[in-house]
Symmetry: D2
Subunit: 379 residues, 4 copies
C-alpha cells in the first residue's frame, strides 16, 4: 500500500474484509504500508495491521514478499510508481484517475501489458450492487435502443473561498498534483460508469469553470491562481447514437456526493443516485416476454437492491439490510482476485481506464477551445 489518505483507508478496509465475506482461494496479507511521513505511516500501519512500513516506495516495489502494489498517492505520482511496479512484475491496483493526462497514462498501459501483470483501476462504483444490476438489466435487453444518458456528480464542499489548495487532504485542489479538478476526480467515475453501461463516448463539447479564482496554497504559503476546474459540464455523443449530458461541480449547495445517472432506451430506463445507493429505479416499458406491459400499471420501480439474487448481496446480510460505500471496494477486490484465480481478469484495467482518460482530456480541451472534440475512443 503506497499512500495513506482517504483512499488508503478505504482500500485497506477492503483488504482486511475481503476474506470475511468472499470465499476465495487466496487470503490477503497486509505486508507493507508506505509513505514519506514515517510517523504518520506508522500510525496508519498500526491501525490497519500492516506488518511493516517504508518511506520510500521503491523499497516496496523491490520487496520480494510483495505480490500486489496498490497506488493510492496523488495523481502526479501514479505513472512513475506504476511503471516501476510493472517492471518489477507486481500486480497493480491503481487509484483513479489513471494519471493526469493521456500522455502520462499511455506508457502505464504499455508497461503493464508488456509485463503481463494483472492490473485494475479503482473505479469502484461499477461495484455498487445497484449499478451492477443496471448493467445486468441492459445486458438482458430490457432497455432497448438507447436514446439518452445523463449523469451528475454534485458536491458542495469547496464553496468557501477560505479553503486552501494543496496540502494534506486538499491536493485535489492543486492542479499540479491532481491534473484537473472535478473532471478527473468526479467525472472520471461517471464516464467510466457510462461507457461500461452505454459504450464509447466519441465526441464532446464542454464548459469548464473555476468560480474561486485564487486560493491560498498550503505548500507555498501564498495566494495563488487556482488551476483546476471547479465545475465541468459536457454534452456528448455515444458510438451507439445516443446523447449524453454530464455535469460535475463542487458548488452545488445541498449535495454531498450526488453521483447519479439515468439511461433512457426505447424499452425501458434505469436511474441511480449514490446518496441512496441501495436503490435502482427501473422503468419497464416492454416486458421480458416481449409483450408490452399493461399500460395502467406502468411506473418507475424502486428496486431495493439487497436481495440474495442481486449482485454481490448474497455475500452480506439478509434482504432489506443495506451495505455502504466501503463495500464497493470489497466487491471490486473480490472481482480482481476471482479474475486472477479464474484467469479471466476483471475490469476496468489500465487500458479501460485509458479510454476514460481520453474522454476526460477531450472534455478539458473542449472546455478551453469551445469546440466539439473527438475523444478517439471507439467501440
Amino acid at each position: 500500500m503506497i499512500g495513506y489518505g482517504f483512499m488508503g483507508r478505504a482500500h485497506s478496509n477492503a483488504y482486511k474484509r475481503l476474506n470475511d465475506f468472499f470465499p476465495l482461494d487466496h487470503r490477503v496479507v497486509l505486508q507493507v504500508a508506505c509513505a514519506r511521513n514515517a510517523e504518520k505511516v506508522k500510525a496508519f500501519a498500526d491501525n490497519w495491521g500492516y506488518s511493516r512500513v517504508e518511506t520510500d516506495w521503491k523499497k516496496v516495489i523491490e520487496a520480494p514478499d510483495v505480490d500486489v502494489v496498490d497506488i493510492c498517492t496523488p495523481n502526479d505520482t501514479h505513472q512513475e510508481i506504476a511503471i516501476a511496479a510493472a517492471k518489477a512484475g507486481k500486480m497493480i491496483l491503481c487509484e483513479k484517475p489513471l494519471a493526469r493526462t493521456v500522455a502520462e497514462a499511455e506508457p502505464m498501459v504499455e508497461a503493464v501489458e508488456k509485463a503481463g501483470v494483472a492490473n485494475m483501476v479503482w473505479f469502484n462504483y461499477r461495484r455498487v450492487p445497484a449499478i451492477t444490476l443496471a448493467k445486468q438489466l441492459i445486458d438482458e435487453g430490457r432497455i432497448g435502443r438507447p436514446f439518452h444518458m445523463r449523469s451528475n456528480f454534485l458536491q458542495d464542499w469547496t464553496i468557501s473561498a477560505d479553503l486552501p489548495q494543496g496540502g494534506a487532504g486538499l491536493w485535489r485542489l492543486d492542479v499540479a498534483a491532481a491534473g484537473s479538478g472535478v473532471t478527473g476526480d468526479l467525472l472520471a467515475h461517471n464516464i467510466d460508469t457510462a461507457m461500461w453501461l452505454n459504450g464509447p463516448i466519441t465526441r464532446v463539447t464542454a464548459k469548464t469553470e473555476t468560480f474561486i479564482k485564487e486560493r491560498p496554497h498550503v505548500l507555498t504559503g501564498k495566494v495563488e491562481k487556482v488551476g483546476i476546474d471547479d465545475a465541468c459540464l459536457f454534452i456528448c455523443e455515444f458510438a451507439n447514437g445516443s446523447l449524453g449530458l454530464f455535469e460535475s461541480t463542487r458548488y452545488a449547495r445541498g449535495h454531498k456526493a450526488l453521483k447519479t445517472f439515468e439511461l433512457n432506451g426505447a424499452d425501458g430506463s434505469v436511474a441511480f443516485n449514490l446518496e441512496e445507493m441501495e436503490y435502482l429505479d427501473f422503468f419497464e416499458y416492454k416486458q421480458s416476454s416481449g409483450e408490452t406491459a399493461e399500460s395502467h400499471v406502468r411506473g418507475w420501480r424502486r428496486i431495493h437492491v439487497t436481495n440474495g439474487e442481486h449482485p454481490y448481496m448474497d455475500r452480506y446480510w439478509v434482504p432489506g439490510l443495506v451495505i455502504g460505500y466501503e463495500h464497493t471496494f470489497i466487491n471490486a477486490l473480490a472481482d480482481f482476485v476471482r479474475g486472477i484465480e479464474s484467469g479471466k481478469h476483471t475490469q476496468p484495467n489500465f487500458r479501460d481506464a485509458l479510454q476514460t482518460q481520453k474522454v476526460c482530456e477531450a472534455v478539458l480541451e473542449s472546455g478551453k477551445t469551445g469546440q466539439w472534440v473527438s475523444t478517439g475512443v471507439s467501440a
Copy 2:
C-alpha cells in the same frame, strides 16, 4: 345547495365544471343557494352563479324547480333536511359523515329508500384516480389474499390551545354540531375507502384522546370542555381475515392532509398518500400471467396516474399533467349523474354510508370502554 362553507364551495365548483369535462345527457343548473345568513349566502350565490338564494332550507325542499338537494351543513342538521328532502322526492347528495350517530343515520336511509330517490354521500376520495385505480387492481386479482391494511389521516391544525371551538369554520371542533372529532371528520373517509377496497370491518378496539381539554367556545363566549376526539387510533378485523390499523389526529406536526392507506396481500400491495395524490405505489409479486415476476427486478412502482387509460383521466389533460383535490368531486358527480342516466346508481349511497357510520360508532364506543366492539357490519 344548502350550506356555503368549505364543502359548499367544493361542491359548487364541481357542479359548474361537470359538463365542461364529462359528456352527459343532463346539464347542471345552479338553482338555489341556501343558508341562514342572508348576506353571506347572497355573496356565495353571486360568486358561484346560483340563480337565487333562500334562508330557510324548507323553501328549497319545497321548490318545484329543484331536482337535487345537496346538504353541506354541519352534521347535526343532516337528518332533518335529508328526511324532508326525501319525502319531497328530491334526489339527495349529502356531505359526509351521513350523521352524528347511527341512530340519526338509520331513519335517513329508510327515508331515501322508501322515497326511492337517488342518493349519494360525498366520500369523494373514492374518486381520486389513484384510489379508483387501486380498486381496479384489487378487482383484477393483483393483490391476492389480503393480510394487512393500514390507513392514516394526519393533520396538525388544532395544536394551538388558542383555537376556539364552534363558530364559522370551526364547528368541527364542537361536539354538538359535529358529533365527534377526527373519527367522523377524517376516519370516516378512511373507513369508507377501506371497506370499498377490502370489505367489511367487523370488530374494532380503539383509543381516543382529547389533548386540549378546554377551549373557548365562540357561541357561548366561555371556555368550555372539549367534547370531540382530537385523535383516534384503532385496530380492526376485516371480514376477509385481514387486520387493519387506523390512525387519525389533528396533532401530527408537519402533516396537513396526510390521508394514506396501504394494503398488503399475498400477491401484491398498493399504497397511496393524498398529499401526492397523482401517484399510486404498487408492488407486484405475482405477474398477471400467473408467473412469479422475476425477482431481481421487483420493486415498488410509482404509477403516475395521469394517463388516458387511468380512471377519469381521459376527461382531463394529457399524460403527466396532474389534476387536484377538487376533481374528486367532479368525478363523483359524474358517476352520480351517469348512475341516474344508466339506472345503475352509483356508490356510496346512504346505506353504504350507514355501514361507515356503524364502524365509527363502534370505534367511539371502544374508545370509551377499552373493549373490542363488534361493528354489526357484514359482507
Copy 3:
C-alpha cells in the same frame, strides 16, 4: 378564442373559472370561439359556453364586442393574427412560443407596443405556486450567489416510429407549423422559467437530434423527412456568471412531463419537478438571520406548497389539498387581469417572450453549427 385544441381547452377552462376563485373588478365573458372547421368549433363553443363561433379569425379581430383575443393556433399563424389584433386595439394573450423565429416575433413585439395594448404570452409555469415560491425565495436572498442551474423537460410520447407528423394534435411534429421541435415546445418553457429566476442567458452551445428521421405526413399522405428536433441539449452561461444545463426530449422512456429545474447558490438551493408540482424542494445553508444554520439539521426540505401563505393558494382550498396543472392558467389569467386593473401589467409579455425566442434561436443555431452562440439577450 382562436383555436380549439389542447390549449384552447386549457385556456377556456381558465376563463370560466377565473371569477369563481379570484376577486376582480372584471368578469370574463366568453364571446367568440373561432376555427376553420365549423362543426368542430361549434362543438367546442357549446362545450365551453362561448356565445358564438366564427371560422375566419379576421371576424374576431374586427368584432366590436371582443376586448381580448387569445391566440391558441399553431405557431406559424401567431404573427399574422397578433399583428392584426394589435392594430385593432385588442388586448392579446398568445400561446407560447411567441413565434417560430425571432424574425417573426420582432414585428409582433413592435405591433403590441405601438398599439399600446395589454399583452401576455402563456408561459403558464411561472404560475405554478411552487415555482412562484422559488422566485420569492430568490428575491428574499435565500439562494445567494448562483453557481448552477439545471433544467429538463422530458417526455416519451414520440418514440414510436409509426406516429405521423402533422394533422390534428400532431402539428407539433411538423416543422412548417411548429418552427422547431422540443426547443420551441418544451425548452421555451424552461428558458422562460430560468431567465425569470436567474436572469439572462447570454451564450449557448447545443446539440440537437432527430432520432426518427422520417415519418408519414398526415397532410401529404407521404413519408417525409422529419424537420423538427426530437431532442435538444444545451450548456449556457448566465449573465450573472452561473452555468446552465438544459435538456429536452420526447424519447425519455418513463417520463411524461418531467419538467424540472434546480438552482444552486452559495446560500441555498431550490428544486422543482412538474410531475409532483405540489412540492418545492429547498436547501437552506444560511438562515435568514444571517447565521449559518446548525449543520446537523441541514437537509433538503420538501415544502408542500398548499398553505394560504403560499402564492395563489389562499384562493383555493385548505392546507394539504393540491391543485393541478390547469390552475396555472387561472393564476396567470388572474395576474393578467389584476395587471390591467392596477395599471402594472403582468409578465411575461411579448417583449419578455422575445428574449426566450432569442435563446431558442441561438440554441437551434448552435445545434447546427456546433459553435457557441451569443443570444443577444442582456440584463
Copy 4:
C-alpha cells in the same frame, strides 16, 4: 462467541472492525467460537479468525482467557448461559430479546447486577446514526410536547405456507425456541427505540395473528401447529401522555426490513425508515431561537446523516458516503467499550432490556385477552 448464525456473523464482523475505526484503549481479541456442531463452528471460526472453538458453552464460560461472552444463540438458551457467565464474572453481550419471557429475564438482570459485570443487549438500531440523531434532536428540545409515535417493522418472508418452522435459520418460527414471533423478534426493537426516544410505555391493547396455522417442523418432521405470532399490532399510552401505534408482520408484501418510526410533537417531528437508513426526516415548526420558523419555507427535511458532525460518522468516510446495517453493531460495540473505559456504562443493559420485555409480554397478553394491559414499566 456462543452461536454462529446470522447474529454471530454480524457481531463477529463488529469485533473485527472496531479498532479499525474507533480509537480505544483496548483491542478486541477473538478468542473462542462455540456451538454444538463442531464442523460448522470450526468453519465459522476460521472465517472470522477466532483462535479456537468449543462445542460446550460451559467451557467458554470457564475459560480464563475470556473476558467477554457474547450470547448469539436462540432465545430459549439466553437465561442459562447469561446467569452462568455472570457468575463466572464475565462481561456479557446478549442478543435481543433478552429472553422469551419476563420470568426468564428477571433472574438474568439480578445475576448481572449481583455480579457487577458490564452488560449490554444488542438493540443495535439505537446506533443507526439517524436514530441517534433523532435522540439528539429530542434532547435538544426540538420536538416539544409529544403527541404521537407510530412505528412499524414490516417484512414479507414467511408468506409461503411451504416454509418450515424450526431448524437452522428458522428457529424464529418455532415458538419453543423463540418464545414469540414478530413481537420478540421485531417489535422488541421498535419498543426499545420508542422508549429510548419517548419514555415508558405504560398500557397497551393489542391484536396478534397467526396467518399460517400449521407448518412442517424440521425437528419433528411433522406438520405442527404454529405457535408464534405472524403479526402483531398494538396501541399504547406513553407515560408522557402521548399515544403510540405499533405494527409488525412478516406478511407485508413488498417490504423486507421496513422498520420505521415517526414522532410528532408540538414543535417538530422526526421520521425514520431503516430501508433508507442514511436519512432522518425532520420537520421543524419552532426554530431553535424560540421563534416560529417562517411559515412559507417550512417542510420536511431529508437530513442525509453522513456528515462528520452526525453521530458516529466522524469515524467513517466523508460526507455523502453511506454506511450500512453492519455499522450499527460496530457503533454499539464502541459505546460498550467506551463505557467500560470511562466507567459510564452504556445502554441498553439487561435492566433496560427487561423493560422492553415487559412491554412485549403485556402486548402478547393483550393479544390473547383483548383487554388493555398495564406494562408495569414506569419512568
